[in-house]
């Protein structure tokens, strides 16, 4: 089932063409990475997918429903999410718990199942012992892990991750990739992840989409390198 479908997408920043004729899709159960040189508009592309930006031509759509015919839930980690305001008045537990609100908990109290999910998510990223710490007191790497715990606690159908492993050591990165692969292959989640380290993650992924500069373009304009799809 297609969770993301992008058709003939062209996007301009003001007058400058940035993305041209982009076509791809992400299915449920797939772990796909999106790469490209610095400034290749990778984040711009996923912001179009999310509806935060609007393409000049073409479409970028996320499925409304999941495999079980229920409302599809999206988990998004923006670039540098962990650099949020150091004074944000929240404990680690509160922040991770907020990931559960999507599960029809916006207006209801969290139940035991929710708290079990939160505990498991924090243990997955080795941050359970920090649950009562104030977010602002953590290091950059620890904040990043808390943000990852939040998305695992949310248990979304579709993960959209923009360089989520920034500040993580090699072992933590590989544990994280393994977990994403497990989510995709065992729980049929769709995963689109922007990364610079495609070699680092290559053994875990199903497909690799690369954005490349258009050879005939004088402008900063990128399209897809379909040859690089695995």
């Amino acid at each position: 089932m297609k969770y993301i479908e992008v058709k003939d997408l062209t996007f301009y920043y003001d007058e400058e063409p940035v993305l041209q004729d982009i076509n791809f899709h992400i299915d449920s159960g797939e772990f796909v990475i999106l790469t490209g040189e610095n400034g290749a508009a990778k984040s711009t592309l996923i912001r179009n997918v999310l509806g935060l930006l609007h393409p000049a031509k073409g479409t970028a759509e996320i499925s409304k429903i999941n495999l079980e015919d229920k409302k599809l839930r999206v988990g998004y980690i923006p670039q540098e999410i962990s650099s949020f305001n150091a004074g944000f008045p929240s404990t680690v537990y509160e922040l991770v718990a907020s990931g559960r609100y999507q599960q029809n908990r916006w207006l209801r109290r969290l139940n035991k199942k929710d708290h079990d999910h939160i505990k498991k998510a924090l243990e997955t990223v080795n941050m359970w012992s920090f649950r009562n710490h104030k977010i602002g007191e953590l290091s950059g790497g620890q904040k990043q892990r808390v943000c990852l715990a939040r998305i695992f606690a949310a248990d979304p159908d579709l993960f959209i991750l923009d360089e989520p492993t920034t500040g993580m050591d090699e072992k933590s990165r590989h544990d994280f990739y393994e977990l994403l692969q497990h989510e995709a292959h065992t729980h049929h989640k769709g995963i689109l992840m922007i990364t610079h380290d495609h070699e680092d993650v290559s053994e875990y992924i199903d497909r690799h989409i690369k954005l490349v500069r258009k050879e005939d373009s004088q402008w900063r304009c990128f399209s897809m390198d379909s040859c690089n799809e695995l």
Partner: protein, 275 residues
């Protein structure tokens, strides 16, 4: 305590307690969304609403509410237009509000300067029973809205793009939040004054953020700080015969300085202990 035997001081005390509940609930989100100046802007815009009411001879509270609601939508529209520099919308609306107020006041020579001064500087001790009732209704409304929408507002405050991806109507939430803040300011302005209402909105939340660890604790501390500042300031202004709004604001600033110093000392002690 004999001061509270007077009817006007009893009304002022009730108003203080009600405002102590309202201000941290809204103030915390204003501070976290980096919209501390929004309260100032809306108070300037409210002044235009007052001037309009006096100019067309309609109850200023009604015109103020209408003007503030329009301004709330405009601020959201402008901040989307200048997405990277969203504070531009605040600057534009603040100067527009004050300019319109000044022009309308100059055109309306017949209006009593007392009326304008009342809204500029406000006075909690001249509050009427009707104003206390309106403030009480507003407090109930805001507490109910807070309890209903605390979770979505938490996520929106944490990161707007994450909130959007998780299906929250980010734009509508911002407009409604601005509108509720605007209505609160319009109602509090004759009590606290256009010039000081934003300080009373922001300071309890800013102090609570230095003291509380969790989100809920910050809200609770904000209300306690609000009660201490509002009631303490009211009593001091009666005792020393100083303007109530200014006295309350100065007390909040004093609490802010003391809390900041205590925090710095305690952090240094902790660091020294770890060494």
């Amino acid at each position: 305590m004999e001061m509270f035997l007077y009817g006007f001081m009893q009304r002022a005390l009730i108003a203080s307690l009600l405002m102590a509940v309202i201000t941290p609930l809204l103030g915390l989100f204003l501070v976290l969304r980096r919209q501390s100046l929004l309260a100032d802007t809306l108070s300037h815009v409210s002044l235009a609403g007052v001037a309009l009411g006096l100019f067309v001879n309609i109850n200023p509270t009604i015109t103020t509410l209408i003007v503030v609601l329009i301004a709330s939508v405009l601020i959201e529209f402008l901040s989307n237009l200048y997405r990277t520099y969203s504070e531009v919308s605040i600057a534009i609306m603040m100067s527009a509000g004050l300019s319109i107020a000044l022009v309308l006041m100059s055109l309306n020579q017949g209006a009593s300067s007392m009326s304008v001064q009342q809204y500029l500087f406000g006075s909690i001790v001249t509050i009427s029973t009707a104003q206390v009732i309106i403030l009480a209704i507003l407090t109930v409304l805001i507490v109910v809205l807070f309890l209903l929408f605390k979770k979505p507002m938490y996520v929106l405050t944490f990161d707007e793009e994450t909130a959007f991806a998780e299906g929250l109507p980010v734009r509508w939430m911002s407009i409604v939040f601005n509108a509720v803040t605007g209505v609160t300011i319009a109602i509090m302005m004759p009590i606290a004054g256009a010039l000081l209402v934003s300080a009373i909105m922001i300071l309890p939340a800013a102090i609570a953020m230095r003291l509380g660890r969790s989100f809920n604790m910050v809200i609770l501390v904000g209300v306690v700080v609000g009660v201490i500042g509002m009631v303490g300031g009211l009593m001091s202004s009666y005792q020393f015969n100083t303007p109530p709004g200014a006295t309350i604001t100065l007390l909040f600033i004093a609490i802010f300085i003391i809390c900041s110093l205590i925090k710095v000392v305690s952090v240094r002690r902790q660091v020294n202990k770890q060494k």
